[in-house]
């Protein structure tokens, strides 16, 4: 960027965008993965062949269909108590994506509000908010989450609150930085000269210009939240059984590695795929919307 700018090429290029962006594979594949995950999450009861908690002791530890001893009745096999892995995966998507959505709405909202206020107002407000943010950033989320799990008891809302407790900080920091830059721009100076009120400046001038980073950050956060939920559930501090979470599914299979590798493997692959899709999507959006944000 800097070089093209230096040579004045930024004015030459950068006017028109190619129309074929949707034909880009780095967009299509992650988009499809996320779409599939979303459909699984929304229509889980319709799509899943069995309820997530249906125990069938006769079908215990059945391997996937493509293996010897497998059956098409349980395409991805069953676990120690005969629950269908595929069904649990589909229900797991519901947990993962809804936790992600909840957390992102909460953290993006709080982080953006604090970030804009800190960045635009500056001074002591900014100093205080940013120290709090710095400490939150450095504070390992997992400790808070584990503390929560121990105190409130593990559960859906524990996970959401625990991840949100510190998750607003990266937003606040990013948005604050953007707001700080925007505050110094000529167009905000101009708005002030005209006599525009601070609230109107924050709403009309600052906010529209941070939407891009906000979208990018939120897309990238999808993967982060899903991973954190998985870690917590894996450690036993997240979504408690019998509810199916990809994280606790991995945990279920841990002690059975030598006899039933599929129990732990498939949910891990699912996490990997969705997180990767989220990250790719975020990267792609960033390249399209705001390449200078490479560091988030």
């Amino acid at each position: 960027m800097a070089t093209t700018k230096l040579m004045g090429l930024d004015k030459v290029s950068g006017v028109k965008r190619p129309k074929s962006i949707f034909l880009n594979l780095t967009f299509i594949i992650p988009a499809v993965v996320l779409l599939v995950a979303m459909i699984m999450a929304i229509f889980a009861p319709l799509l899943a062949p069995y309820p997530y908690d249906q125990i069938a002791l006769t079908d215990r530890l059945m391997p996937p269909a493509f293996m010897e001893g497998g059956s098409t009745a349980h395409i991805l096999g069953t676990d120690l108590v005969g629950r269908d892995i595929l069904s649990r995966l589909i229900y797991g998507a519901q947990i993962s994506l809804s936790v992600a959505l909840m957390v992102i709405v909460i953290t993006a909202g709080v982080g953006t509000a604090l970030g804009i206020v800190a960045g635009y107002l500056g001074g002591r407000t900014d100093g205080f908010l940013m120290r709090v943010t710095d400490i939150s950033l450095a504070f390992p989320a997992i400790l808070i989450a584990l503390l929560f799990a121990a105190t409130i008891g593990p559960g859906y809302w524990t996970v959401v609150i625990a991840i949100s407790m510190l998750g607003w900080a990266p937003y606040a920091r990013l948005i604050r930085g953007e707001a700080l830059k925007l505050r110094e721009t000529d167009f905000v100076a101009q708005a002030r000269i005209i006599g525009t009120s601070p609230v109107r400046i924050m709403v009309r001038h600052i906010f529209p210009n941070i939407i891009n980073p906000l979208i990018i950050m939120s897309t990238l956060a999808v993967g982060m939240v899903i991973l954190t939920e998985a870690v917590l559930s894996y450690l036993g501090a997240g979504i408690p059984p019998p509810a199916a979470s990809w994280g606790n599914m991995v945990n279920d299979g841990r002690s059975l590695l030598d006899v039933a590798w599929w129990i732990s493997t498939f949910p891990g692959v699912a996490i990997g795929l969705v997180v990767m899709a989220g990250n790719f999507m975020g990267d792609w959006l960033r390249d399209k919307l705001d390449p200078r944000l490479r560091q988030i």
Partner: protein
């Protein structure tokens, strides 16, 4: 007349971007003699800087590529050298000063370190010779109290001083050709005057050849022996400075001189060139200046004029003079 040190022949440098090919430099030729200052003048994005980076072969890769042409320095075509051979030319034979003094010094190393590093590049100087050389480079650029400045960091200096340090770095290997890319644009008027005078003085002392890149016709007049006027990737007119200012021939040159206010006479109204420079990705057919030219004819729209020498050392690319 002194001998030709650098000759650029029919140089084409394009940028291959996702959005299309940017013809940043589209067939330019010029030469620079020993001890001479050649000015490249033109507006932003006309290809001046790309020309300079092409000579040093420091284009941003892989987008920027030299597509055709020759850059002959003292009998060697630089474009045929391999990377290592080319590096031997940088700094020692050809050096460059970049436009923005605030960003062209490394913020984490002291001034002394940054110059010493360049000095060491020349013939593996023994350690005890380095500091005197660094100080003499600083002296050449008339930097006050050079001994104390060695340990300072870029952020501790003013823009003018930094640009002198950049000059000292560029001169520290005693190159034979210096490319100065708008070195004074970021400086204040009186500091700019200082800097320009300083460079004339450096040239007198070292007989170095200079390519001076600028958008300011006033700076060109002050500094250069000969000038090439660039427009949209081409040199449209080349002449000695006096000739160019006395009898400009290309309509673009004429229009530029009329559209810039002068201090020595108050114009009633400035001539204003209509439109704006074309996009280098989407150049008009025929003469590039045609859409903005006030004396264009039909032939200008259809065919591109070639360069014609109308008098000794004065060449113009315009159908009106052909």
């Amino acid at each position: 007349m002194s001998k030709v040190l650098l000759e650029v022949e029919d140089l084409h440098t394009f940028f291959f971007t996702r959005r299309g090919v940017v013809k940043a430099v589209d067939g330019i030729s010029f030469y620079v003699r020993e001890g001479e200052t050649f000015g490249l003048v033109g507006e932003s994005a006309c290809g001046k800087t790309v020309t300079a980076l092409s000579i040093l072969r420091l284009l941003p890769e892989p987008a920027g590529r030299i597509v055709a042409g020759k850059v002959v320095f003292d009998g060697t075509n630089l474009l045929e050298l391999d990377k290592k051979e080319m590096r031997a030319y940088r700094g020692r034979e050809i050096s460059m000063i970049l436009q923005d003094p605030m960003t062209s010094l490394n913020p984490v190393y002291s001034i002394g370190d940054q110059i010493a590093e360049a000095v060491r590049m020349r013939h593996d100087l023994p350690d005890n010779m380095v500091e005197p050389e660094v100080i003499s480079a600083l002296r050449l650029l008339k930097i006050p109290s050079p001994e104390t400045i060695l340990g300072e960091y870029p952020f501790q200096m003013s823009g003018g001083m930094r640009q002198r340090v950049v000059g000292a770095i560029a001169m520290s290997c005693r190159p034979r050709l210096l490319i100065a890319d708008e070195p004074t644009t970021a400086l204040d008027a009186t500091i700019q005057a200082q800097y320009l005078a300083l460079f004339k003085d450096v040239q007198k002392k070292t007989n170095i050849s200079i390519i001076f890149i600028t958008h300011d016709f006033g700076v060109v007049a002050n500094m250069c022996h000969r000038v090439g006027v660039m427009y949209a990737g081409k040199i449209v007119e080349t002449a000695t400075t006096s000739e160019l200012f006395k009898a400009p021939k290309h309509p673009y040159t004429v229009a530029m001189m009329d559209s810039v206010p002068r201090l020595d006479h108050k114009d009633k109204r400035l001539y204003s060139i209509k439109g704006q420079p074309p996009s280098l990705m989407n150049l008009p057919p025929g003469c590039r200046f045609y859409p903005r030219c006030s004396v264009a004819t039909d032939v200008c729209r259809k065919r591109e004029p070639h360069q014609v020498e109308i008098s000794d050392g004065h060449s113009v690319s315009c159908w009106r003079v052909q």
